[in-house]
């Protein structure tokens, strides 16, 4: 959550004042563009095998998620950071259970095919 942060020691050097700086937004933007172009190029040009492509584009998507959280949403900053991260981890756990569980059961464990 975006905020600021005056963390526990006020401004420490390199802390950018808490709500991100232009630099961190520009870095995040460039990274997210690169992470978008890579899977597009790989898929549109059929550069890899099926499994390889799926793994690669999913990794790129997760990295992109991390970039947005880190550079744009400033997940680690702000006095709520600990709670925000706990809630996020819990949501990701549920997400993982629902998505992976559904795929696993519906595609690999149906008795009546």
């Amino acid at each position: 959550m975006g905020q600021p942060t005056h963390g526990h020691g006020g401004h420490d050097a390199g802390h950018e004042g808490g709500h991100g700086s232009l630099k961190s937004y520009v870095i995040g933007f460039i990274l997210s563009i690169v992470l978008t172009i890579i899977p597009l190029v790989v898929v549109m040009n059929d550069m890899m095998g099926k499994t390889g492509t799926i793994v690669l584009i999913l990794i790129m998507a997760v990295l992109q998620f991390a970039v947005q959280l880190w550079f744009f949403m400033h997940l680690k900053e702000g006095e709520n950071a600990k709670w925000n991260i706990s809630a996020l981890l819990f949501a990701i756990l549920i997400l993982f259970l629902v998505v992976v569980g559904s795929i696993w059961i519906m595609n690999y464990n149906m008795v009546a095919h």
């Binding site: 700086s21 933007f29 099926k50 997400l95 629902v98």
Partner: protein, 205 residues
């Protein structure tokens, strides 16, 4: 408040404690909402992935998706996520007009995204690919449509906030609202990246 206050006068932090807690509680409440939204989208993704091969004789993902439009939508939304960040930066610099300006840019990009998406949907329906055609398309329209609905709601919210900013300027309340809106917008960008990956890229490969 406490934010900027504490920012400059760390030692006065204690005096502002009550407001401060209430303020950060509101931001935290919004974060919890976003987390429940993560779970909603997770369920819709699960449904889509399970149903994506059930085309029932209708068009498949590969036949249906037109990547140029999707790629344009992706970069438009990505850029709008960046410009909403620039709006927050302008706000922290106390520049109201710049803040409204970046929000307006973000709004225009979001509106362009929605226009492209709606055009895409209309084309699909004209080709006979409706939400009732197959399990694959039900999953597709529900998932992508829910994301589009979120973006549309964000656009309405953005107009309201721009008007409020013009009227009241940057106050502690409008400040929190801008921060929360930009979180929402970044979140929608993240969801779109997964739509691009799981729906479109995996659909056409």
């Amino acid at each position: 408040m406490a934010k900027s206050v504490a920012h400059h006068h760390n030692e006065e932090h204690g005096h502002e404690h009550v407001h401060h807690d209430l303020d950060s509680l509101k931001s935290f409440g919004f974060w919890i909402f976003l987390m429940t939204d993560v779970i909603i989208f997770g369920c819709l993704f699960a449904v889509y992935v399970v149903l994506r091969n059930n085309t029932a004789g209708g068009p498949t993902a590969d036949e249906l998706f037109k990547m140029p439009g999707v790629i344009a939508e992706t970069f438009i939304l990505l850029t709008s996520s960046f410009t909403s960040g620039l709006a927050v930066l302008a706000m922290h610099a106390g520049k109201r007009n710049q803040l409204i300006g970046w929000l307006a840019v973000t709004f225009l990009l979001g509106a362009a995204f929605i226009t492209l998406e709606v055009t895409e949907f209309i084309d699909m329906v004209h080709e006979g690919a409706t939400i009732a055609t197959s399990g694959f398309l039900s999953g597709f329209f529900t998932l992508v449509g829910t994301h589009g609905l979120h973006v549309s709601i964000g656009l309405v919210w953005m107009i309201g906030l721009m008007l409020q900013l013009r009227k009241r300027g940057i106050t502690k309340v409008t400040k929190r609202k801008v921060e929360v809106l930009s979180l929402y917008w970044h979140f929608l960008d993240v969801v779109w990246i997964f739509v691009l990956t799981v729906v479109y890229l995996m659909g056409v490969m």
